[in-house]
Amino acid sequence: MNGLADFLAMGGYAAYVWPAMGLTVAVLIGFVVTSLRRLRRTRRQLAALEAARQSTRARRKAAEGKP
């Protein structure tokens, strides 16, 4: 128990050490999250565009089928 309290207190420097660690972790996680989100969004948009292309192609093929 004492160990945890001591650890968190960081020898009296807690007010400096923990924000520093927190900022670092926040930035690291932040970039991971935003980069992955962006990638996901691009993938979705790409898939949607591909699907639209398929359907236009299919429609056109069907239209060609009719004389």
């Binding site: 420097y13 660690m21 670092t24 991971v32 980069s35 990638l39 790409l46």
Partner: protein
């Protein structure tokens, strides 16, 4: 390298490397944090505040490393016109700026208990501040033009001009700060660093590198797919 100019090939390579890079990054960073926060000893003079060093110094290393990566990518982009090189530079820049920001703020948080003020005109901290603005300018250039390709080329040229200037800037700021610093300046990581303090530092440094690789791969993938998206949208519009 030319083989990976093919986007499809690059995407497959990226997908192969990514899980390893990410896993390695997570493992090393967690290990580094454990070593730095728990296992390693407090400093004789600075107490536990020295633990900030374990994020501050690797972040500063990465701030520099990312910029060198950008410079290399810019060189490849301009000289060999490798199509992915511009994308690498564009993807790396915000991450580099992020590391720089972390280096600055953690440096500040470390400096306050050590030197008594939030900002010290230490040669290193000040050079990193100038580097931060180089990053901001670089990032701004990509979106400054209507034609994205112009933005890429402009950014590449300025990245190279910047990298030539970087050692000059660092040298001049260092010199200036030593001339103006009071004689009793405390050298943060002295000439010889105790191995107990060195290991967490190295582990964190490697962890950050692996992290950079992983995030970079994700971001470049996104750039490649976005380019494909734009091309398809143009085709679609023509349909």
């Amino acid at each position: 390298m030319q083989r990976y100019a093919n986007p499809g090939r690059f995407l497959r390579l990226a997908d192969a490397i990514l899980p390893w890079a990410a896993g390695l990054a997570a493992a090393l960073i967690l290990l580094g944090l454990y070593l730095g926060l728990i296992k390693s000893p407090a400093d004789y003079q600075q107490g536990d505040s020295v633990r900030i060093m374990y994020v501050h110094v690797p972040a500063a290393w990465m701030a520099l490393f990312c910029y060198l990566t950008i410079a290399a990518a810019s060189f490849v982009a301009l000289v060999w016109r490798h199509p992915l090189a511009h994308l690498v530079a564009k993807a790396a820049s915000p991450v580099g700026a992020g590391f720089t920001f972390v280096a600055l703020v953690t440096g500040s948080l470390w400096g306050k208990p050590t030197w008594g003020t939030w900002w010290v005109w230490d040669g290193r901290l000040t050079s990193v501040l100038v580097l931060f603005f180089l990053y901001l300018g670089h990032i701004a250039l990509f979106t400054a033009f209507d034609d994205p390709r112009r933005g890429q080329k402009a950014a590449a040229i300025l990245a190279l001009v910047g990298v030539v200037n970087l050692p000059i800037i660092k040298f001049s700021v260092d010199w200036w700060s030593t001339l103006h610093q009071p004689a009793s300046v405390f050298r943060l990581d002295g000439p010889t660093i105790h191995p107990d303090l060195l290991w967490p530092l190295l582990v964190m440094g490697l962890g950050f590198m692996a992290y950079f690789l992983a995030v970079l791969l994700v971001r470049v993938k996104d750039e490649v797919l976005s380019a494909r998206l734009r091309a398809l949208a143009l085709v679609q519009a023509g349909v």
